[in-house]
Amino acid sequence: MKPISKIQSRTVNFANTDIDTDQIIPARFLTTTTREGLGQHLFHDWRYLPDGSSNKDFILNKPDSAGCKILVAGRNFGCGSSREHAPWALQEFGIDAVISSEIADIFRSNSLKNGLLPIVVDEGTLDWLLEHPYTEVTIDVVRSTLTLADGTTVNYPIDNFARYCLVEGIDQLGFLQKRASEIEQFEESRPWTP
């Protein structure tokens, strides 16, 4: 994973609550054996009309949304399935961070493992962002802060380890492998075996 210390971009707002992983990437696109090619199907059934053409009314298709790397969404973003295809699709599309007042557990964990930043803010901050579309925001990953164009800065909570992995570009599998001897010891010392 590449180290990430700062994300700076305009925001794109998708105010719906409970946006589930079946909306982010519908199940029929999961019959793949690689990570690539999912970005074109991100939000597929909202993004395209039944005839396959682009749905001009969908927020990500608006000209102003082009190049926005930060998605601001309603409460409980990413609920539903454990498919890591959801963060893969968002990233391939060009989203680097998702901001909401609540982000589903498995989606959050999957995102962090891929360097997609899930940011939970209080309802007040979320409301402000939703009322101010396409606002310029700077995310300082090292300090865990979100700074708005007027200089207002809010802190967001993030697990210390997750932040360390993002900033240093740490590969968590490598981290686990380094503990091989402890894992072995654990297996040998268990009072029962599975």
């Binding site: 793949t32 054996t33 059934d45 890591e84 599998l173 686990l176």
Partner: protein, 468 residues
């Protein structure tokens, strides 16, 4: 102090699996006793192992099956496999190749133990109290019915477990949900969990592990308990748990993966220590009156948008409510019993076990599916299929005009070619009524097998109690 402090079931299982404790700066390293894998969420994990030249650390703790992308018609040739689509077929072939290459026993098409991953774990006795169980699938919460700590993970984590048999995890908060009293006739585990999600919300469990308890739960058999735990994720919870008891042990006795002989007695002694201690602390608790529950149906596009079967759909709500009503083409203020049904699906890891099929058969027996309705029963495993056929349920379904299939996820997720056509209304015993979940544009009402069968007979959303 720590030895006398009362602990919850969750805390006991968690602490028994700590390879390395968590600190402010690092999550715990948690040992995994059982890793369930299927074809959809593993190919990229195996690729990661291949790229790094890593083996699978414990193939013996890995249970592999195929369920999501598999056809529910018999597969004898490659052409049969492609019924589900070229992508689906390629994914299934990749699963065979990966399991061969990494030395994992795969329950392949011709294996009589094959089925939906969350059905076969318990059925084989691989799911046991006190185990940690993970799978690249959110409904792994099902296995919590046995007092196992079981949760869904992403594909990167699947690679972590394949390579190290461990996961990096933070401990969760705890939520106790107690169901008092007893259920009325016609009210099932599915209705209980739908009502509960309606009460606490689809995000009510975020960050929490739920423990379900109370008289309603103790009276339930294992299949009903699995239905409850299965849908914990629909409340946003990390996992759902039920304390193991004699019902649990009776279910597991003699199954292929269960401990045998003296190991069985030792295991039961150990399992009896697992239930939450008197006075243990939960971060939150909720109570639900079992007597007051009725058959439930969803009206919207998430499992929390739910009403009792004869109650009117709410008149008004927020933007999400209005969007859901529009998608579902449902009239606010009216009960769903006015809605015409096109498809009835009885299956999925929520409700495809033998007791679910028996309940449906009880309603289908001697009756016919209403004209214009397509009804389909998909058993959760090949074992359940054989059991149902031995009981003659397949004949009851056939006489009623219901399709009887091979096991698999089928119309729960619509990845294998079994889909609900766009705009059609389906009553489904699965767990998600998200937009397009059963097929692009499909409109889904979640319900129990009893309600689904009654709806197939009447051709509209129907209260099953008049048939009981």
């Amino acid at each position: 102090m720590s030895t006398t402090q009362p602990k919850t079931l969750y805390e006991k299982v968690w602490s028994e699996h700590l390879v390395v404790n968590e600190t402010d700066d690092a999550p715990a390293i948690l040992y995994i006793d059982l890793h369930l894998i299927h074809e959809v969420t593993t190919p990229q994990a195996f690729s990661l192992l291949s790229e790094r030249g890593l083996p699978v650390r414990r193939p013996d703790l890995t249970l592999a099956t195929m369920d999501h992308s598999t056809p529910t018609t018999p597969v004898r040739t490659l052409k049969d496999l492609q019924i589900a689509g070229k992508g689906a077929a390629a994914q299934v072939l990749k699963m065979q190749e990966n399991c061969r290459q990494f030395g994992i026993d795969l329950l392949d098409f011709d294996n009589e133990q094959r089925g939906i991953v969350h059905i076969i774990g318990p059925e084989l006795g691989a799911t046991q109290p006190g185990k940690t169980i993970v799978c690249g699938d959110s409904h792994t919460s099902t296995h919590g019915a046995f007092g196992a700590l079981a949760f869904g993970i992403g594909t990167t984590e699947v690679a972590h477990v394949l390579a190290t048999q461990c996961l990096l995890q933070r401990s969760a908060r705890t939520l106790l949900i107690e169901f008092s009293g007893e259920l009325q006739t016609g009210v099932t585990a599915k209705d209980v969990i739908l009502a509960t999600i309606g009460q606490i919300g689809v995000d009510g469990g975020i960050g929490h592990v739920i423990e379900y308890c109370g008289t309603v739960i103790s009276a339930m058999d294992m299949e009903a308990r699995m239905t409850i735990c299965n849908m914990s994720i629909e409340a946003g919870a990390r996992a759902g748990l039920i304390a193991p008891d004699d019902t649990t042990f009776d279910y597991l006795l003699g199954r292929p993966w269960s401990p045998q002989d003296t190991a069985w007695d030792e295991a039961v002694t150990r399992w009896r220590q697992l239930p939450t201690d008197e006075g243990a602390h939960f971060d939150k608790s909720v109570s639900v009156d079992g007597k007051a529950l009725e058959p439930m149906v969803t009206f919207g596009t998430n499992p929390g948008m739910v009403v009792a079967i004869n109650d009117p759909v709410p008149e008004d709500g927020d933007a999400a409510f209005r969007k859901a009503i529009e998608y579902m083409q449902i009239t606010p203020g009216k009960p769903l019993s006015e809605s015409r049904v096109d498809v009835v699906f009885i299956g999925s890891c929520t409700n495809s076990r033998i007791s679910d099929l028996q309940q449906a058969a009880r309603i289908f027996a001697g009756r016919k599916v209403a004209p214009g309705v397509r009804a389909l029963v998909v058993p959760g495993s090949q074992q359940i299929k054989r059991e149902a056929e031995a009981l003659g349920l397949d004949k009851i379904f056939a006489e009623a005009g219901v399709e009887w299939r091979e096991s698999g996820c089928s119309m729960c997720i619509g990845m294998n070619g079994d889909t609900v056509p766009s705009g059609k209304l389906s009553v489904s015993t699965s767990n998600r009524n998200f937009e397009g979940r059963q097929g692009k544009g499909a409109r889904t009402i979640l319900a129990s097998p009893l309600t689904a069968a009654a709806s197939a007979i009447e051709g509209r959303v129907a209260d099953p109690r008049r048939y009981l």
